[in-house]
Symmetry: C2
Amino acid sequence: MPDTALDRILADFLAGDRRAASRLISVVEAGGPEAEAVLHRLYPRLGDAPRLGITGPPGVGKSTLVDALVRHHRRQERRVGVVAVDPTSPFTGGAVLGDRVRMGDLTLDPGVFIRSMATRGSLGGLARTTKEVVDVLEAFGQQVLMIETVGVGQTEMDVAQVADTVVVALSPESGDAIQAMKAGLMEAADILVVNKADRPGADQMVRNLRADLAMRPQSDWTVPVLTTVASRDEKLDALAAAVDAHREQQQATGALAGRRQARAAAEITAILRDRLWQHGHAHVGERIGDWAARVSAGTETPYTAARSLLATILEETR
Amino acid sequence: MPDTALDRILADFLAGDRRAASRLISVVEAGGPEAEAVLHRLYPRLGDAPRLGITGPPGVGKSTLVDALVRHHRRQERRVGVVAVDPTSPFTGGAVLGDRVRMGDLTLDPGVFIRSMATRGSLGGLARTTKEVVDVLEAFGQQVLMIETVGVGQTEMDVAQVADTVVVALSPESGDAIQAMKAGLMEAADILVVNKADRPGADQMVRNLRADLAMRPQSDWTVPVLTTVASRDEKLDALAAAVDAHREQQQATGALAGRRQARAAAEITAILRDRLWQHGHAHVGERIGDWAARVSAGTETPYTAARSLLATILEETR
């Protein structure tokens, strides 16, 4: 894309054009120098809009919960951005779009911007890309940002890396809490929500979760255990209030600043690692094949190969 | 660990001591300079023992299938190594060990070496570590290597990265094939197996899979669709024969050499990236925090920070 084309999209974006926002998000998702140019232009526009992560096992009603929270903020005329990350869908927007059908009326609301990210194949860089897409949404003027992600076994994106406040959603179905625990989600929770709380077992689950939390070491923040029935918009205000309370507490203790600084450090590190590798690859990329052949033939090991290639890079940098 | 301690373990390992093998695997899993030293010593002992990957959705009977294949090879007095990777278990050996209880008699067989790897938290490096653990098992003298891994949504380890032949196992349960397709497993399959073939729907599933395969572009290798009842040791010989046939075909066409060379290139690249970052981190690691503070404060962007830090690294390398 020529610079002038990018300039035009950026101008449209700053004027509030949604299609321009979609295109810039695609540019950022694709990575590379254009992504860098876009983000560089947008960073000065970032403020401290709250970033809320919502995660939990499949089937607990995360999307419904997100929809209900979006409606809650819309009633207060806040512009909302949602990034829905579905690490299990191999099709662009696949399962997520399915969920999003329910959100029909919200997608027509000009104060709401929803972006689905299907992530197959983009291992490792997911947290960074997600953060950058959220950055674009904030630069677009969205005042509340939500990141929805399925918390399965080994979630490759730690939602805590991109959110100021992490809500872990469960439902009274047997096994949800265990699944969340196995996935390490409970550790990341700033707020626990038992959704579908009109189903049997909800009260017992709340008691179990509280007992579980009581056994943890004390910290500045006491993780609340709330109940919601998101499909009927029940008790969403209490959840929103808990999110606000967490944010205020984080601001008061300086934890929010610390979390954001750690996030910046992680992003700098990720970019720097990439850049350093680009530098290295430019010097020795074409020679890796030869070394691989020697390793395959058993005359070298991957370690002697890497050491020699590293020496070449450092030598040629001199 | 002092060098002499490592030397002693290596000597025990080469003498066939299983506890020494377990310890070396742990050293390799931990990574770092000791892992490098161990692997460097073991690489000359690597030959071209077949590496078989077995993957599929949870519940299709992968472990039973692996057990049956191990028994098949043991009847022919081949030494077998198994690495069972469970990316969903947060507990060391958790779910995997549960499965392995069934393998009781095999774990007592001195010709079989089974290692479970629970992988929570070791994102990204999993394929490399798995490959290196398999290397240790081959260096220990295991003549057939198997890598068992759950193929869920976004499997962080692409089993094709570590195996010469990939068997994708399914069962006639509804949804298995779809799950495998969503996870992109079908693409990786060199051989498809419908296990639990005594259950209803197996024949229909085989027909569907064959029809699906027929629509793919032709290649040198025609993916066979087999049936097994691993729990009763049924039709395992046909599966083992298909694995051998795939290997022979791969050798004849040179595809095996290509696959192994690509694997070596990926390993060299991974090590080189790490080393390059170690070099960079040694120069600027302590300054990242300051830059992160400036990014948080909005006076810099992660990209200006990374660019400046890269310049420092290259400058100081000179």
